[in-house]
């Protein structure tokens, strides 16, 4: 795209997010915006998020990832994944391919339930189908570790979110409109920081571009906690002085659907260290 066309596209994008088109066009517009604002960094590098523009940060990341201090947490998740339910069934039996190479298709639009289903919700459906109690979606010890291990079975799979029909598209559109909605006392949208200013410094934090954010969750941010993607959304909502929506709420599920679609084509890796 020529620079002028790009600027026009961006103005249209920001002025009326609901006016623009199909998911693939949206994704391309995001890519064009980042390519213009962060020249010379190929989209494949975006899996490193805010680390990708700082050699120091990337070095620090690599040394942490050589011996991840959160390996124990992932082992804890493995134990939950492998321990049979009271009825003898296992998590692996609830999923296609025994749970390997599937996470890149989540979230998806479930035509029977008429709602977006996230990977963490599917883990809970599995528990309930087998007469077990669902896990708290925001508990880093249980859902955090389980999701981290279960997702690691899809490491290397390319994100491939599908928006197959009009109903699914309407959920995607709701997620998109939330992404552009100003919220909180600071009156900022996700797009204000991660689209318009992706690659810029917010005080001393480099803002990661939207694309690439969804492929490496849950993340470890120091301490002992593994944060799911929706828990991370909640932290950003708090940061702008908004009351966070609940994990598993329609609002966050639709947001995750839209947000994950934008990372289509990038390889998954669970879990990683992040700020």
């Amino acid at each position: 795209m020529s620079p002028l066309k790009h600027v026009i596209a961006l103005i249209i994008l920001i002025a009326s997010p609901l006016a623009w088109g199909n998911p693939e066009e949206d994704r391309q517009l995001f890519i064009d915006t980042f390519e213009a604002n962060i020249p010379g960094v190929p989209i494949s590098q975006y899996i490193h998020g805010s680390l990708m523009l700082s050699e120091d940060a990337l070095d620090q990341y690599n040394s942490i990832m050589d011996f991840p201090p959160f390996q124990e947490m992932i082992d804890q998740g493995r134990k939950i994944w492998e321990t049979p339910f009271k009825n003898g069934q296992k998590f692996a039996n609830c999923f296609e391919n025994k749970g390997a190479n599937i996470a890149g298709k989540f979230p998806y639009y479930n035509t029977t339930l008429k709602q977006v289903v996230t990977f963490e919700m599917a883990l809970n459906f599995c528990l309930k189908q087998n007469g077990e109690t669902a896990l708290n979606l925001i508990n880093p010890e249980t859902m955090g570790t389980l999701s981290a291990y279960a997702r690691s079975l899809s490491d290397g799979m390319l994100m491939q979110i599908e928006v197959p029909d009009e109903e699914a598209l309407s959920k995607y559109a709701l997620g998109k409109s939330f992404y552009f909605r100003r919220i909180g006392q600071y009156n900022l949208a996700c797009a204000s920081c991660h689209l318009t200013h992706g690659g810029h410094y917010f005080r001393d934090e480099l803002l990661s571009p939207t694309i690439g954010q969804a492929v490496h969750f849950p993340v470890f941010r120091g301490g002992e906690r593994l944060y799911t993607l929706q828990m991370r959304y909640q932290r950003c909502m708090e940061a702008v002085g908004a009351t966070p929506f609940k994990s598993g709420s329609e609002t966050l599920n639709n947001l995750e659907y839209f947000h994950s679609y934008l990372s289509n084509g990038l390889p998954l890796q669970s879990s990683v260290y992040r700020r």
């Binding site: 920081c193 200013h197 810029h200 410094y201 917010f202 005080r203 001393d204």
Partner: protein, 128 residues
């Protein structure tokens, strides 16, 4: 803008040294000869809980303003560029009046800062 690791180190080192010094000597971060309102204005502008202006703006003429922010124009030469206190006040109270799509928080309209606090911040801005 990408900082070299050297620059980043310098910035984080100098902020560390400042904080350490102020803790060790237990002096507030001010230098002599500044008026009380300037000091308060600086604190309001720098603090995460009030202005947090340094999240988006740098202030190259204030050596205590430690930030890598490059989202918004640097706060420099304010007296010359903003001779009208009223215009400056409006920008901080609710920048949407001038820039409808701005990402600058409407500090007054959203009750993040009081009128008095904004006036105090303006006193500080005029020292930059």
């Amino acid at each position: 803008m990408v900082r070299t690791s050297q620059q980043q180190k310098l910035i984080s080192q100098s902020s560390c040294v400042m904080v350490m010094l102020s803790i060790i000597l237990s002096i507030p971060l001010k230098s002599q000869g500044e008026s009380e309102s300037t000091i308060n204005g600086r604190e309001l502008a720098h603090s995460y809980d009030y202005g947090n202006c340094l999240a988006c703006h740098s202030a190259p003429n204030d050596k205590l303003a430690v930030t890598l922010a490059n989202i918004a124009p640097p706060l420099v030469d304010m007296k010359r560029r903003f001779p009208s206190r009223e215009i400056l006040f409006k920008q901080i109270w609710d920048a949407r009046d001038t820039y409808p799509d701005t990402i600058m928080p409407p500090f007054g309209a959203h009750m993040i800062l009081t009128e008095m606090q904004i006036q105090t911040i303006i006193d500080y801005l005029y020292t930059l």
